[in-house]
């Protein structure tokens, strides 16, 4: 998985959990919370959907890694690739 593909995975999840938001211009380097109406429960949704849909675990200590699309990609892409390598 590339980092761009990883960003798309995260955007797909956000599209479901924040269906009123316009995601066409999300800036990858800006905190998601600063450009979208997302609260702490929504971030727990992102964590839950990563777990349910992709088998990815994000420990609480790492939640800050989900702050922006860029940081999501940095943090999650190796996890996706490690999972793909296992299977």
């Amino acid at each position: 998985m590339t980092k761009d593909e990883c960003k798309q995975v995260v955007l797909n999840i956000i599209a479901d959990i924040a269906p009123d938001e316009d995601l066409s211009n999300v800036k990858p380097d800006v905190r998601l919370r600063d450009q979208l109406q997302l609260d702490s429960m929504d971030f727990l949704d992102i964590v839950m959907e990563l777990r349910k849909r992709h088998g990815i675990e994000v420990p609480e200590a790492d939640y800050m890694q989900l702050a922006s699309l860029d940081s999501c990609a940095e943090y999650l892409t190796p996890k996706f690739n490690a999972l793909a390598g296992k299977s």
Partner: protein, 412 residues
């Protein structure tokens, strides 16, 4: 000191056969029921009363996703009632608005959904939703409504089984009279068709209706009645003290005339006609009315073989043969049993009688059970009444809670 006069100034509702009072009433007069078949988890196709309002009229998609069906129904009904009341909501002090919503139960739907959800993950509870607690707390429907409206006064639910719809109105009346709030949004809601447990529970009680034609399935007082049709729905009202309503020139639907609530203390599920009789009589006393003064009695009857007969016994004991202007009807024959919304919806369906002097009938009675043959029973066709100045609304619930609410035509 005389208690404040409390009046109904707005109505918002969603029923299986209508999403506004006008649509609901038109269907009640036209004999149009609203029961359909619905897939219920683990149970397959079941008869149910389903509401078809548009949740996105007053909620964002995310609110619908995060919230509950009961919350969504409450928000729809509350917003519709506010719009109907004509109140300038922007200028209303938000900390003086109370929200009092009757519920039969709350939390079953979300709990069942989550157990089903984790069953897909080998019952690993790390897949259990973090929304479970805010969705299942008993105040959820009222809390979601306060979030949507931005009101900061008291907002909570009243658990009273199937007597809950009346209880919302009764409690709001009490709070207005106590001066706790200046404006109340109140009534009852139900999301019950989204929990298989209620269907399975009534089926195990042998109390779930069956019929090849869904529209004929709910048939209180009919000899062939065989149980309850479970429905969802909601009806919320705006209630105000008379002087406040008059000061803003509000349209007044009716005045709260009297009420009573009591308990059977006799059985978990079986009704108790003696206590029902006491409840009706006490409500009459508090309203300062005689039985013959009541022009419409809207029955609670749910179409269970025993329950209908017992309520008829209670009504016969109070109204007997000497109330020539008292008409008796039932609304569940159209919409099934809307549980916590039942009392509030059924009252709403009858309120327009003050204007059109027409009593909506009980439909689906092909063969009247002689034990339910009450004087004044309005069967299958609307009845033009000489006078409709009062409506008495019965709502009874499990664990033996009874509520009777009487409203009267507003006369300054």
């Amino acid at each position: 000191m005389k208690p404040s006069r409390i009046v109904i100034t707005g109505v918002g509702l969603t029923a299986p056969n209508g999403n506004t009072l006008a649509e609901f009433r038109a269907n009640l007069l036209a004999g149009k029921a609203g029961i359909e078949r619905m897939e219920i988890r683990y149970m397959g196709s079941q008869l149910a009363g389903v509401c078809h309002y548009d949740p996105l009229k007053y909620q964002k998609k995310k609110e619908v996703r995060v919230g509950t069906r009961a919350g969504s129904i409450s928000i729809y009904c509350a917003r519709e009632a506010l719009a109907d009341s004509g109140v300038n909501f922007e200028t209303l002090p938000k900390d003086r608005v109370g929200i009092y919503i009757g519920c039969t139960e709350h939390g079953n739907v979300e709990t069942e959904n989550e157990i089903y959800n984790i069953s897909k993950f080998n019952y690993d509870t790390k897949f259990w939703s973090h929304y479970h607690n805010p969705r299942t707390v008993a105040n959820n429907p009222a809390g979601e409504t306060s979030l949507n409206l931005g009101t900061t006064g008291p907002a909570y639910t009243i658990g009273a089984a199937c007597a809950a719809g009346n209880m919302g109105l009764i409690h709001a009346t009490q709070m207005l009279r106590l001066g706790e709030v200046d404006f109340a949004i109140c009534g009852g809601v139900s999301e019950s068709i989204h929990t298989f447990g209620i269907f399975a529970g009534f089926k195990s009680q042998n109390a779930l209706a069956t019929h090849e034609n869904p529209l004929k399935a709910s048939r209180p007082f009919d000899l062939a009645r065989n149980g309850i049709v479970i429905s969802e729905g909601g009806a919320l009202y705006t209630l105000e003290r008379l002087e406040d309503a008059q000061a803003r020139g509000a349209k007044i639907y009716a005045e709260i005339a009297g009420y009573h609530v009591n308990s059977d203390a006799s059985d978990y599920v079986l009704p108790n006609p003696v206590r029902q009789t006491e409840c009706i009589r006490s409500a009459l006393v508090r309203a300062g009315l005689q039985p013959a003064d009541i022009h419409i009695v809207n029955t609670h009857a749910t179409a269970t073989p025993l329950g209908d007969i017992q309520e008829c016994e209670a009504i016969r004991a109070v109204f007997g043969e000497n109330c020539p202007e008292t008409h008796i009807n039932n609304t569940k024959s159209y919409i099934g049993h809307c549980m916590g919304a039942a009392g509030a919806l059924e009252l709403a369906g009858n309120l327009p009688s003050f204007d059109d002097l027409t009593v909506h009938p009980t439909i689906n009675v092909d063969h009247l059970d002689p034990k339910c043959d009450l004087p004044g029973l309005v069967l299958n066709q609307p009845h033009k009444a000489a006078k409709v100045d009062t409506i008495l609304n019965n709502s009874f619930g499990m664990l033996g809670i009874n509520s009777t609410l009487i409203v009267r035509r507003f006369v300054p």
